[in-house]
């Protein structure tokens, strides 16, 4: 629990910090300090156990199925690192209190900073690799948020994105690596993995695992070639740079390598990959650092270089090298954090970080200058400071690389040492010389407590440098033992080891560095150079930006090729898939059993000659001759209806005939608003060959699709039918469903649930059509009164629709159409009543009824009909649906499932016994919905005409429907 609270505490603090007001700078800092101190106290409390060599574990069940628990685990290494995180965190928080401007919105800053602290502790304390990845990515995320803290600045946004992209990508690689490791070992538990080193190294997946883990670590620790994000991360506020980007987060990568050293190290691959990256990084970082003009930029490259140094040590992989690596991690954290803070103070006090401007600051900032110079000396590896010790260990280790005769590693190390002396000199050059004039601000020593963290850290550098045995040795020992276990070597942290090769290398580096700096300053115009010599082409940041841009561009390019936003290709692909996929998957058909089938009926064939001919002609004409196409489609429709009739499906024939009628009227109502296509103006926009290619392709697809469906249909038709559920319906319709028309019983009883859904579809579509038409804007060309009605030669052009029907040309037809209305109504009732036993039913009846009303609309116009008949389609719809539902729900009363039919038997005088099945009432609901739907859609469409008639030639785009909207339809 104690362990859990160590990780939880910062997150809790983060939430609290986020909730504070904008200007609560002091309270925020106190909170953060409290969190850090609390964390330190907890860590301290754990010390006795850890010091005793115990591994403290805390487990919480999370995903037991995947063998994944939330495990916190402290050993020496983890403890040392958490102390580092907490202690530097404490100092940084204190520093930040003074660094942040009073206008800065601090809650966000401290919330993110504390969340980072928690994440970092999580990384360090994870006892489970997956959990480690989780916290790992959390550090990337919080780092992203902190770098982007001043997000109104473009460099901050860029830096944040760059850092996040690189480190999060690395994190993904790490996740993959962890998965592979877990797969090899069979567990993600750190202890298990660490114990399975040999198994891992012998596994065929070792190299992928190593590469993936290395990618995670190297990106995080800003190793070549992923180092470029770190300088750009300097857009963050300085406390962030000093905490995340020098002392802790960037150390997560090397921490991971150290952590996994027992599991992964000890192979040539390890040395080459890790060590190789480290060497490149250390040289490049150090060299480039010399030529920076920005204080923080210089420190960033120097950090890269030092991280490279640590990586090299880990890559060398000998136990002593690991000792040196851990040691240098700690040392670097102290001097680099203090240097960043010093740089922050300079920036804060002078308003600039430009090395070309800053001079002579020791006069105005004497204490800061002293501190910074000492810290720089530590960075340069000057004896009696901590940097010297670990660097000398490094030199010593490089000598072992590649045996006795291979010296290149040592040369590289010395070169790096020279460079670091040079950039350290460059850094401290701001304190010397004549004081600069015209700085943005007049510098003063910072507040006492802002400087305090620097002082403390510099003091640590000194203490460790002078008396390593007393100060750092116990800590280091803890970490080393935890990492190396039985392999832990004997080592000596003395300041003086006598005259030996490493010492010579140190001296070379110091002297050579000073010379190099002098030469560069005098002869190479160091202060004015715009570009880094030799390496300026190696611009990772530019490469990153280009990659990102290319990625987007490339994705767009690719998307245009593998995707489309147009409809036609999509439909084409669907049809192509329909044609190919089944064949590809199911393969060629097996030998087909054919039953003797009915012979060729020339009359039936003649009928389909018509149907098919109409379909083809419709396809030919649909572009310019819409009315012709509509009539031709009607031809196919009526042949289809006749086919249904012929082939024993009278219900279908009736429905098809009625639907055909209603569809024709509907499309005509729509065509009114679709201006005609005229051949001459619709010329081809594409070159003809393209048109022809497309047409050929489409034609091939059409022929292929048609053939495929024909073949399938034929295959089924000549194939003996399997044992179907249909027999049940035929046998039970009359006995169980109470009707002899099995199709109708199917619709209102056996599968009434389908019908319920179907009438819902009708209602939904009607509502949608109505809603669309409420906002309908006609095409300008069709908005006015149709030319036919403006034709002066037609007497009807001077009459209202009602007049045309009352006395005009529709008078005589009107007599018939009006006389037919009651007949149609009765026929509708007839079809409704007989439906259960003979062809008919609610659908057909509803359609007949709707068409009967529609004829009246056609005859006398909307206004006339609606002034006499208040048909409220919405109510029909609602009523029908509710009636169907209620009928179904009635079964609940009897304890039966929804839609179970019941029949009431009523004895009537004179008439005899009447059977009233509930299915009949259900069908009535169907009837009402069909009427409501048809009326709502067609009438709403017809209402559009009123607008044109109300305002001839003007106000055509006005919203709403004028008078029609007011009238309930």
């Amino acid at each position: 629990m104690l362990l859990a609270s160590l990780v939880l505490l910062p997150f809790l603090g983060s939430v609290l910090a986020a909730l504070m007001p904008q200007d609560a700078r002091n309270r925020e800092s106190w909170l953060a300090i409290g969190v850090a101190v609390g964390g330190l106290a907890i860590a301290a409390a754990l010390f006795p156990q850890v010091a005793a060599g115990e591994v403290v574990r805390a487990e919480f069940a999370w995903l037991p199925a995947e063998g994944l628990d939330f495990v916190l685990r402290v050993d020496g290494l983890a403890w040392v690192f958490s102390m580092l995180v907490l202690a530097i965190g404490l100092l940084v928080v204190l520093y930040a209190r003074y660094y942040m401007s009073p206008e800065d919105p601090v809650p966000r800053f401290f919330a993110f900073l504390l969340a980072f602290m928690g994440s970092m502790l999580g990384v360090v304390l994870s006892g489970n690799l997956v959990q480690l990845v989780v916290f790992w990515e959390l550090t990337s995320l919080t780092s992203f948020l902190l770098i982007g803290y001043w997000h109104h600045r473009a460099d901050a946004r860029r830096g944040a994105r760059m850092a996040f992209t690189v480190t999060a990508t690395g994190g993904l690689c790490l996740m993959a690596g962890v998965l592979v490791l877990g797969h090899i070992v069979g567990s993600y538990d750190l202890d298990v993995v660490l114990a399975a080193g040999d198994q891992i190294r012998d596994h065929e997946l070792y190299l992928p695992a190593l590469v993936l883990v290395a990618l995670g670590a190297l990106t995080k620790s800003a190793q070549f070639p992923f180092h470029f994000w770190l300088p750009h991360a300097m857009a963050a506020p300085t406390p962030v740079s000093s905490y995340l980007h020098s002392a802790t987060m960037v150390k997560a990568g090397v921490f991971l390598l150290v952590r996994l050293w027992p599991a992964l190290a000890g192979t040539p691959e390890w040395t080459w990959i890790i060590g190789g990256a480290g060497v490149c990084t250390l040289l490049i970082g150090a060299f480039v650092a010399i030529f920076q003009h920005d204080l923080k930029g210089l420190l960033a490259y120097s950090t890269i270089s030092h991280l490279g140094l640590i990586t090299v040590l880990i890559g060398i992989g000998t136990p002593l090298a690991i000792v040196a690596a851990i040691f240098h991690i700690l040392n670097h954290a102290t001097f680099k954090a203090s240097l960043f803070m010093a740089a922050g103070i300079i920036d804060h006090e002078t308003g600039t970080r430009d090395l070309r401007v800053l001079r002579g600051l020791r006069h105005k900032l004497p204490i800061t200058a002293t501190l910074a110079i000492v810290a720089s000396a530590a960075m340069a590896g000057v004896p009696l400071l901590n940097g010297f010790l670990s660097k000398e260990m490094f030199f010593a280790e490089t000598l072992h690389v590649g045996g006795d005769r291979n010296w290149w590693m040592s040369y590289a190390a010395v070169a790096m040492g020279m460079f670091s002396v040079a950039y350290s000199l460059r850094f401290i050059s701001v304190f010397f010389g004549t004081p600069a004039q015209g700085l943005p601000r007049d510098p003063h020593e910072p507040p006492r407590w802002m400087r305090f963290p620097v002082e403390l850290l510099v003091l640590a550098c000194l203490v460790v440098g002078v008396a390593p045995g007393v100060s750092i040795e116990p800590l280091l020992h803890l970490a080393v033992v935890a990492t190396l276990g039985e392999d832990a070597p004997a080592y000596d942290l003395a300041v003086w080891h006598g005259f030996n090769l490493p010492l010579l290398m140190s001296v070379c580096a110091l002297v050579g560095g000073m010379l190099l700096y002098g030469v560069l300053r005098r002869h190479f115009d160091l202060a004015r150079r715009e570009r880094v010599p030799l390496l300026h082409r190696l611009n990772g940041a530019q490469a990153y930006e280009t990659t990102m841009l290319q990625l987007t561009r490339g994705a767009e390019w690719l998307l245009r090729r593998v995707g489309t936003r147009r409809l036609q290709p999509q439909l084409m692909l669907m049809m192509l898939a329909l044609l190919l996929i089944p064949l590809l998957l199911a393969g060629a058909p097996p030998a087909w059993t054919v039953i003797p089938v009915r012979g060729f009926d020339p009359i039936f064939a003649g009928m389909w000659l018509i149907g098919a001919g109409c379909a083809l002609a419709a396809a030919w004409m649909a572009k310019y001759h819409r009315l012709a196409a509509l009539a031709l489609v009607g031809g196919t429709g009526i042949v289809t209806a006749a086919t249904f009739l012929w082939l024993s499906a009278p219900d279908l024939a009736l429905t098809q005939l009625m639907v055909e009628t209603v569809t024709t009227v509907l499309i005509l109502l729509g065509l009114r608003w679709l201006p005609p296509r005229i051949e001459s103006i619709a010329g081809p926009v594409q070159p003809p060959w393209q048109v022809w290619t497309r047409r050929t392709r489409d034609l091939a697809l059409a022929v292929g699709g048609g053939l495929a469906l024909a073949a399938l249909t034929h295959a089924v038709l000549v194939h003996p039918a399997s044992d179907t559920i249909a027999d049940f319906f035929l046998l039970n319709a009359l006995g169980g469903g109470g009707g002899s028309n099995v199709v109708n019983v199917l619709l209102v009883d056996f599968r009434s649930f389908d019908t319920l859904g179907e009438i819902t579809v009708l209602a939904v579509v009607a509502l949608t059509v109505y809603a669309l038409l409420r906002r309908f804007r006609p095409a300008p060309e069709s908005a006015g009164i149709p030319p036919q009605q403006r034709f002066e030669g037609d007497p009807a052009s001077r009459q209202s629709p009602a007049e045309q029907a009352g006395s005009g040309y529709l008078l005589v037809p009107g007599i018939y159409l009006r006389l037919l209305l009651p007949f149609m109504g009765v026929i509708a009732v007839y079809f409704f009543m007989r439906g259960h036993n003979l062809p008919g039913g609610g659908f057909v009846a509803g359609l007949i009824f709707a068409v009967a009303i529609l004829v009246q609309y056609m005859l006398a116009g909307t206004v006339w009909v609606e002034s006499r008949l208040n048909l409220r389609p919405h109510r029909w719809l609602g009523f029908g649906l509710l009636l169907a539902c209620t009928t179904g729900l009635g079964a609940w009363w009897f304890g039966h499932p929804f839609l179970t039919t019941h029949t009431a038997h009523v004895e009537w005088p004179l008439v005899g016994e009447l059977h009233l099945p509930s299915a009949f009432v259900f069908d009535l609901g169907v009837f009402a919905v069909v009427v409501g739907t048809t009326m709502l859609m067609l009438v709403a469409l017809a209402h559009q005409s009123l607008r044109a008639h109300r305002h001839p030639g003007e106000d055509l785009t006005a919203d709403g429907q004028g008078g029609a909207e007011g009238r309930r339809i």
């Binding site: 009625m658 009628t661 068409v851 056609m858």
Partner: protein, 94 residues
């Protein structure tokens, strides 16, 4: 020759005539040339199908086909007058 063969032959003949008639209608439907020609052809097609339904009824001695003919007789004209009205007035419901 029985009555059955006689009637069967007569029905078949009538059916053939009706289907031929439908073919002719379709021809007119396709070639037009004017829209009213097509409307007329479509209407005649409907009427032919009505006759076809009646003939099928006689052929199979079944009453099941009657309703289809009834529906066409009573409501088959609706789409035709809608088309005609569209041609004449530019809209179906004014």
């Amino acid at each position: 020759m029985t009555t059955a063969t006689l009637l069967s032959a007569a029905t078949l003949f009538a059916l053939a005539c009706v289907v031929l008639a439908m073919l002719l209608c379709t021809l007119r439907l396709m070639i037009g040339p004017s829209a009213q020609d097509r409307v007329l052809a479509l209407d005649t097609l409907w009427m032919c199908v009505m006759v076809l339904a009646l003939l099928l009824g006689i052929r199979h001695g079944s009453q099941i086909y009657f309703e289809a003919a009834l529906i066409i007789a009573l409501l088959g004209f609706v789409s035709t007058i809608a088309l005609a009205k569209f041609l004449m007035r530019g809209e179906v419901i004014e």
